[in-house]
């Protein structure tokens, strides 16, 4: 057990689709568990990263919590991987970068249809938003990128097996896509 590869995963500003795609490797999960174990991950509900060989990050950086989680992962993961379009280039959440943050918040919480008690939420528990959503490589050093929205289960499998086996990661043509 001690020499199993430790994998940690985290969702930042994304839709959780990449984590779903990871689960889509289906019965290959059993093969994975033979050689790897999960550190913190939404899959096991451990909240804080301990120490991991591979950190998989889904989603871009949209708020202070994202920054803290990402930095925590960078400190505690030997290899950090951007998984999916949002981590790679900001993805759909980054489409808000076309607008001022004020306009986004006012549209949602002040001027939006059906809004009651209009106000921009300011509870201290809520992470502060960055003025733009950034891909994660603009905040910490990233070692590998796995594009796709989401990356297919096959490409996640290819990536993990080749990385774990210490081979250079290379994908068949159909496993690289940005959509």
């Amino acid at each position: 057990m001690a020499d199993k590869i430790r994998i940690a995963t985290a969702p930042l500003a994304g839709c959780f689709g990449c984590h779903m795609s990871l689960l889509d490797i289906d019965e290959r999960l059993l093969d994975l568990i033979e050689v790897a174990e999960f550190d913190c991950s939404p899959l096991n509900d451990f909240k804080r990263v301990g120490s991991a060989d591979i950190g998989l990050i889904e989603g871009g950086v949209a708020n202070t919590e994202n920054v803290e989680t990402l930095r925590d992962f960078r400190r505690h993961c030997r290899i950090l991987v951007a998984v999916g379009a949002c981590a790679v280039n900001g993805g759909i959440p980054a489409m808000r970068n076309q607008f001022d943050l004020r306009d986004c918040l006012e549209e949602s919480y002040v001027n939006g249809i059906g809004v009651e008690n209009p106000m921009i939420p300011n509870d201290p528990e809520i992470p502060l938003l960055l003025d733009k959503v950034h891909p994660i490589h603009e905040v910490v050093k990233i070692d590998y990128f796995l594009p796709g929205c989401p990356p297919s289960a096959d490409s996640i499998w290819t990536f993990l097996t080749e990385l774990i086996e210490g081979r250079p990661v290379s994908f068949p043509y159909t496993q690289i896509h940005y959509d």
């Binding site: 202070t64 004020r102 950034h134």
Partner: protein, 598 residues
Amino acid sequence: MNPASDAGIFTERLLNEGGAQATDLLQYLCSIQQHYSCIPPQAVETLARVLALTPSVVLGVIEFYSFLHRTPRGQFDILVSDSITDQMLGSRDLLQRLCDRLGVCVSQPGSDGRATVATTSCTGMCDQGPALLINGQVVTRVDNERLDRIVALVQAGSPLEDWPQDWFSVSDNVYRRDQLLDEHSANGDSLRVLLDRGAADLLQELDDSGLRGRGGAGFSTALKWKLCRDASADERYVVCNADEGEPGTFKDRVLLQSWADTVFEGMTLCAGIIGARRGFLYLRGEYRYLLDSLHTALENRRASGLLGSAILGEPGFDFDIDIHLGAGAYICGEESALIESLEGKRGIPRIRPPFPVTSGYRNRPTVVNNVETFMAAVRIAEHGSAWFRSKGTAQSPGTKLLSISGDCRDRGVYEYPLGVSIEEVLSDCGADDVQAVQVAGAAGRTLPPAEFGRTLAFEDVATGGSFMVFDHTRDVLDVVQNFTRFFAHESCGFCTPCRVGGSLLRDLVDKLHDGHGSEYDIREMRDIAGLMQAASHCGLGHTAPAPVLDLLDHFPDVWRQRLAAGGFEPSFDIDAALSEAKQLTGRDHSGGRMGGDV
């Protein structure tokens, strides 16, 4: 004036007077800008209709040139020269003072429409800065006292004609003369030599002299002229490149101010040799103040039979020169971009080959040479190739004009035999405690003292004439930042590596300058620089990364001590990125500073 009602009429009149050629579009735009402080929509519509262009093409030209604007700039359009040498003389403080006193923000006209204040690329007044351009006119040697008086005149709405005229005076500041500057006259002697000896013979003389282009690239002048002469065509053109935009260069301005006759004679000589009937002086917009004296010089030469029909009474020797103005675009110093600009277009460098010598202006064979090259050709015709070769080196015969600015006692123009050492130049101009010399401008080399034994010559350190001195009180990173911003601003935007890479490089240099650069960023700079050098469309992109690479190679102590701890820094300021949310929610981030801890 009422732009809405009369801009169309004004434009119609200009077109009627000017012959309404589409190749003159930029010239019309310059006149309209000068009159209205913008190009009103009615002018765009009229130009497009009469010149058979689409309005979007006209807009494309307007938005390419820094001196043309679609919205009014105010009665006084004040541009502060942003060359590093102007900055060293205090231009940034002056800019701030000017904005404060006039109550305006940079690049935004005040609410009263009185004035606009902005920066502009090097105005070529580095030896007498800080300099301003006010409605296209140069004001030199600006200090706080002069600035405050300018503010008062602007606020009073006083026309420029009523301002103290000595403010507009531009000095030559020539400190060393040699082959070229020893004589002032050009009364047709070289043209008589041409008529006596014939074009082929004189071309041979030029070839024997070994004259190479003085713009910096060093192409054989005789070969260029011969290729153009031998190209079959119905028309040929001579173009004098006076788009002296390389930061720190101003020797062409001095030549055009005090040796214009010789320059025009050189163009005429070239015309006689290659068989051209028409020539252009492409004058950078910053030198608009020279227009009147240059037109007078042309008139005098026409009156003396040195220009026009049957020059010196020789039937068939017909040649005349037009002056075309640039409008704030460094790229137009590149010869094929210059030709595009001459044709009234956006200054995008052409695909080469074909080269201008076979397909230039209006796709006809065209010689484009630097101001100084034409002058040298005149002297060679008068005195012979042996005389010329008596100065300089075997591979770089003759002399070279240097524009010397920065930290030295005597800033100005120096004429040296090629092959002179950097040390000697520094000693002559009174430069002590020198940390770095920038030779050949922003696109040239940044050299540390260990390299001062090197010589200025095509075979060693080639130069178009810029020579900027920085002593140990200066921050080399300030210099590199200025140049990198300059290139990002002046990229024409045509090719990917220069357009995008130039901006990426600028941001990385800013990051390093502000103490947030990492080892990772240094590698990124080298990578981007290498790509720009290898894959850009023209010389601007090839040379734009030179200051960054020289910084990394020659001044490691300067950048190493600016590196942030750790190998990686975020590409943006996280604290700044949170300020809007803090303001909107009225709270601070409980965790304190976010920046830079990984």
